[in-house]
Each structure stands twice: as structure tokens, then as C-alpha cells.
């Protein structure tokens, strides 16, 4: 299949602000790699179920219990943040449709 990457769109989806030059270079590299890996499309996988997990396990749960020991100290958490205000994390304004 022809691979048509709108690399600027992909970079926007991935929240990566790249220069025009970088976009161009990454676009080329991604295309090359994808053309290589696209060979798997030649394999006949008719009727083959996908494996999303190496062990066929189901139903792993926790019970509905509060585990106070795992709750973090706010001071320790906020100390890692680039910007805070009072007891909150602080970020620049969002666009409405962000």
C-alpha cells in the first residue's frame, strides 16, 4: 500500500513542535521504515486472531478497597512539578477544543 504520511499532522497529534527541517527529515525516515515494515502486509493472516498480550489471561482485578499507604504526600508530589500555585498544578490556558 502506498504510504502517505502527513508528518506535520502526525507531529501535531503527538504534541511535538518540530522545525520544518526536522519534520522533513523525520517524515523521510518514518516513510523509509514504514516501507520496510509494511512487508508484513504480504503475510496471509486470514482468520488469525491478533495477540495483544503474550499470556492469554483474563479478569485481573483489585477489590474495591482504599489503600491509604499508596496515597502520596501532596508536598512531595508538587515538589516535582514545574509550576504550582497553592495546592494546585499550574498550566497555561487551554484552547477550548484541546
Amino acid at each position: 500500500m502506498p504510504i502517505d504520511i502527513d508528518i506535520a499532522h502526525v507531529a501535531r497529534l503527538a504534541r511535538l513542535r518540530l522545525s520544518e527541517e526536522d519534520l522533513e527529515a523525520y517524515g523521510r525516515q518514518c516513510r523509509d521504515l514504514l516501507e520496510h515494515v509494511a512487508r508484513i502486509q504480504a503475510l496471509d493472516t486470514e482468520g488469525v486472531a491478533p495477540t495483544s498480550h503474550p499470556f492469554p489471561m483474563t479478569n485481573r482485578f483489585r477489590e474495591d478497597l482504599v489503600t491509604p499507604d499508596s496515597v502520596l504526600d501532596r508536598g512531595e508530589v508538587l515538589a516535582q512539578a514545574p509550576s504550582t500555585e497553592r495546592e494546585f498544578f499550574r498550566v497555561p490556558p487551554a484552547l477550548e477544543d484541546d
Binding site: 499532522h9 501535531r12 497529534l13 504534541r15 495483544s52 498480550h53 499470556f55 489471561m57 483474563t58 479478569n59 485481573r60 482485578f61 483489585r62 477489590e63 474495591d64 478497597l65 482504599v66 489503600t67 491509604p68 499508596s70 496515597v71 502520596l72 501532596r74 508530589v77 508538587l78 500555585e85 497553592r86 495546592e87 494546585f88 498544578f89 499550574r90 498550566v91 497555561p92 490556558p93 487551554a94 484552547l95 477550548e96 477544543d97 484541546d98
Partner: protein
């Protein structure tokens, strides 16, 4: 041209589990900011989700109550989008294999109909953004503050088919769904606190046979009223657009409660490519028959059934709907009173009328732990029936019982409210009032019947409300020779 509205609703219900969906933090977000957080719900590097079994149980019960089939195999997907209050920048949700599919909810009232349920699936909530500056409007904010207490609280999303045809019906569906969720006891089900949130997809088309029009998603409605108003506004906006020869743009619009309009946002290209894929941190759910049976056995009586049961007792439909929608304590009181022999219609009227009023004036939140029991209410109503208490006195007795002063009999005698049904005692009272109002009495004797009410009132006053009004009336009539 006349247009037909086509509406589908997506409802997010926050589950009232003890802990969050994927971690052991308390699922309470009224705590001080950023205190109910852990590596998992903060999306710290290396943290992993482990699903809460009880949340899945509740999703199954919601699905069963909505007449859905529970799928045998269900998968958690990652829904990828960036937002500051979404810590992992993907939400664990479900895609092609939700927990429940293909159900319906019957909506009664003035807009009856069957609303198809497409799916019921698991989700997790985001943190909370507070937009600062620019009078709090997101579009003008200078910056935002983030609290992650709500991050990871379990959500269930209920998606209807586009079966709703009017704003009023959308509201009726939403109200019925809230009743159902409340009856199931799976959520606090409070709109004002955001534990139930509705999004509406609205489109219009020239007629029932026409293909579906371009749909617009409306968000930010936080009451049934605003849901109805927003949908009605949007239908009007779209038909006006089309009548004016314009085209509808596929977009998300926000309801502005104060202005009473929906507003479009800045629509960003490609923002809806969520790149769903199965979450490799989680394994599939296998929902076998035993599990489904176990959940089905836990289903309580649902609002629609309860309504028809109440109607079957001989209660009128409006009263039955009110009672069926009342809280569990009021319903318990009603059912207890009927069980103890009260007439259903009378017990119903009292519970949804006098009892609610008395509660309100007593300052109590609900009947929980109150001394007013079903048998107590039944006895009170029996005393009204056999004229031991007047209606007025009965309300006072009710207040006394609620205040913990004892049984209805004890309160009535302690407050000296028992009705005077002794003809001898009342005879004396009648004699006195007719003597005090000779002129009126003469007019009564000459046939002015409406003055009976006046004299009964006088007797009631003289006996401080304790006279049996029927007996008093009879005695007055006899004395006047009527």
C-alpha cells in the same frame, strides 16, 4: 419546511465505589486538592492500572437494568488525546468490545417512547481544571489550576441510539435514567455535583424517511432544565440555519446557561483521531454466565416496575410516579404504612404531601433514622379516618411524632388534640356560638345555608380545633331546624 429532530444522548455516570477505577485512592474528590492521588491516578512514570472489580459489577448491573446483553468478552482500550487534566494523556475506555450492548429504556409521561441503548461501557474520569482570570471562561482564561482528586474515579458511559425526537423527550429520558441509576444504588446520581453528566447529539432532517442530518454535539448542561433548553435551542438554531439555506457544521458546541444559547468553539483539525488500541497494561474481561446471574440477582426493583406496582394498588399514575421517584426512606414509609393497613392513595398523598412538608419545616434532610414508621403513619391516618383527629390536628401530631415525642396517640393526647366527638360537649359549644351571633343565626334559620361553614368554624375556634367538624355541622343544622 417542517423538520424532524433526531437526538442521541451520551451520559457519563460517576460510580460511588469506595476506591478509584484503577488504584486504591478514595473515589472522593471533595477532599483538599491533590490529596487523594497516587502514582497511578497521577500518571507517574512506571505506574500501572489494576481494575476495580466492583466498578465492573456496577456497569454490568446498569447494563442489565437497561435491558442490554452483557458481552462475553470485553476489552479496555486506550483513547489517546492530550489534555492537561488527563494525566496519562490517554483515557482508559472501551472501543469495539464494551461491557454491555443493545438495550433500551422506556420513557413514559407526556413523551412516551422506547429509547434504544447502543452501549454501556467503562471509563475513568479526568482531573479538574479551574480556569483562572478572564472571568472564569475557558476561552479567556490566563492560566489553569489542576486538581487530580477526581482523576481515575470510575465512570460508566451510556450511549443511546438516535431515537429521541424532542427536547422534552430528551429530558424525560435523562430523568428516567437518573431514577434508574439511583435505584441501582451505583452512583450518587447528583447532577449538580456532576456525578451524572449529559452530552447530546442533535441533528434535524426533513422527515422520518430522510437520511440523518449533520450532527452537532452539545456539552455543558448541568440540570434537566438546561438539557431540555439546550436541545430545544439547538433544534431551533439548526432549522433556522437550514431554512436560511445554510449548512450545518459538524462541531461541538457548549451550552451557555445564562445566555440561553449554544456556542461553537474553535474547532481544531484532526483532534478527533483517538487512535484507540487495546491497553497492553490490562487483560480482557471474560464475563461468564455465573457472573451475569450473580449481578442479575442483585438488581433491585426498578422505577418503571415500581410505578406500575403502585398503580396496581389503585394509586393514580401521577401520584405513583412521584412516589416511585421518591427516596428510599419515603418509599419505605409509604410501603410500611400500606402494609400496616393504610389506604394506598391516602398514604401516598400524605407521604408525598404532608410528610415531605413536615420534613422540610423540621429541617431534616431525610427520613433516615426518624421515629416516623410505617405503622405509626398508618395509625395516624386511621385516626383521621375515624374522626379521632382533624386534618389540622393530624398535621400537628405528625410534627410531634417526627420530633420524637412518641406514638401518634401519645402525641395527640399530650398535645390535647383528640377530636371532640361527644355530642353533649359539642352541643354546649354550638349553643354558645349561636348565642354570640344571633343575627347570623337568624339568617341561617331563614335558609341561608352557606352560613353553616361560618358556625362550624366558630365551633372549631371555641374548641381549639378539636371538634369533629362533621358532627358540629349536624348539630348546627339540627338547631337551626334545617
Amino acid at each position: 419546511m417542517s423538520w424532524e429532530a433526531v437526538i442521541g444522548l451520551e451520559t457519563h455516570v460517576e460510580l460511588s465505589t469506595r476506591s478509584k477505577m484503577f488504584c486504591g485512592c478514595p473515589a472522593r474528590f471533595d477532599a483538599p486538592p491533590n490529596t487523594n492521588v497516587c502514582p497511578v491516578c497521577l500518571g507517574l512514570p512506571g505506574a500501572l492500572p489494576v481494575p476495580n472489580r466492583e466498578a465492573i459489577n456496577r456497569i454490568i448491573r446498569i447494563g442489565l437494568a437497561l435491558n442490554c446483553s452483557v458481552t462475553g468478552r470485553s476489552v479496555f482500550h486506550r483513547k489517546n488525546y492530550f489534555y492537561a487534566d488527563l494525566p496519562k494523556n490517554y483515557q482508559i475506555s472501551q472501543f469495539d468490545l464494551p461491557v454491555c450492548v443493545d438495550g433500551y429504556l422506556d420513557v413514559g409521561g407526556d413523551h412516551p417512547g422506547r429509547v434504544g441503548i447502543e452501549r454501556v461501557h467503562q471509563e475513568e474520569d479526568t482531573g479538574k481544571s479551574t480556569h483562572m482570570g478572564g472571568d472564569g471562561r475557558i476561552s479567556a482564561a490566563e492560566y489553569s489550576l489542576l486538581d487530580f482528586n477526581r482523576s481515575g474515579v470510575p465512570l460508566v458511559e451510556i450511549v443511546t441510539r438516535p431515537d429521541i425526537r424532542s427536547a422534552a423527550q430528551a429530558r424525560a429520558y435523562a430523568q428516567e435514567l437518573r431514577l434508574l441509576v439511583e435505584a441501582l444504588g451505583v452512583s450518587d446520581a447528583r447532577l449538580e455535583e456532576g456525578s451524572i453528566r449529559f452530552d447530546a447529539n442533535v441533528s434535524v432532517r426533513p422527515g422520518p424517511e430522510a437520511p440523518l442530518g449533520t450532527k452537532v454535539e452539545i456539552k455543558n448542561m448541568n440540570s434537566f432544565r438546561s438539557l431540555e433548553r439546550a436541545v430545544a435551542f439547538e433544534i431551533g438554531r439548526q432549522t433556522a440555519c437550514l431554512d436560511g439555506g445554510e449548512r450545518i457544521v459538524m462541531e461541538t458546541r457548549h451550552w451557555d446557561e445564562e445566555a440561553g444559547v449554544t456556542r461553537g468553539g474553535r474547532t481544531k483539525e484532526g483532534s478527533s483521531d483517538y487512535r484507540y488500541f487495546p491497553d497492553p497494561d490490562l487483560v480482557p474481561l471474560e464475563l461468564d454466565q455465573d457472573w451475569k446471574d450473580e449481578m442479575a440477582a442483585l438488581l433491585p426493583e426498578l422505577p418503571a416496575r415500581r410505578r406500575s406496582r403502585y398503580e396496581g394498588m389503585g394509586i393514580d399514575p401521577a401520584q405513583a410516579a412521584t412516589l416511585a421517584g421518591a427516596d428510599v426512606h419515603l418509599r419505605g414509609l409509604f410501603e410500611g404504612a400500606v402494609e400496616a393497613g393504610a389506604r394506598p392513595q391516602q398514604a401516598g398523598n400524605w407521604v408525598s404531601g404532608e410528610v415531605v412538608a413536615a420534613l422540610r419545616s423540621s429541617g431534616r434532610e431525610s427520613l433516615a433514622d426518624s421515629p416516623l414508621s410505617g405503622p405509626n403513619l398508618a395509625r395516624l391516618l386511621a385516626m383521621v379516618e375515624d374522626s379521632t383527629l382533624s386534618g389540622l390536628a393530624a398535621r400537628e401530631v405528625l410534627a410531634g411524632v417526627l420530633a420524637g415525642e412518641g406514638t401518634p396517640e401519645e402525641v395527640a393526647s399530650a398535645r390535647d388534640l383528640l377530636q371532640i366527638s361527644d355530642a353533649g360537649v359539642l352541643e354546649a359549644a354550638v349553643e354558645e356560638v349561636t348565642a354570640d351571633h344571633t343575627e347570623e343565626f337568624a339568617r341561617l334559620c331563614s335558609g341561608e345555608q352557606k352560613l353553616i361553614g361560618f358556625f362550624v368554624g366558630q365551633v372549631m375556634r371555641r374548641t381549639r380545633g378539636k371538634a369533629d367538624p362533621k358532627l358540629a355541622g349536624r348539630l348546627i343544622r339540627e338547631r337551626a331546624g334545617l
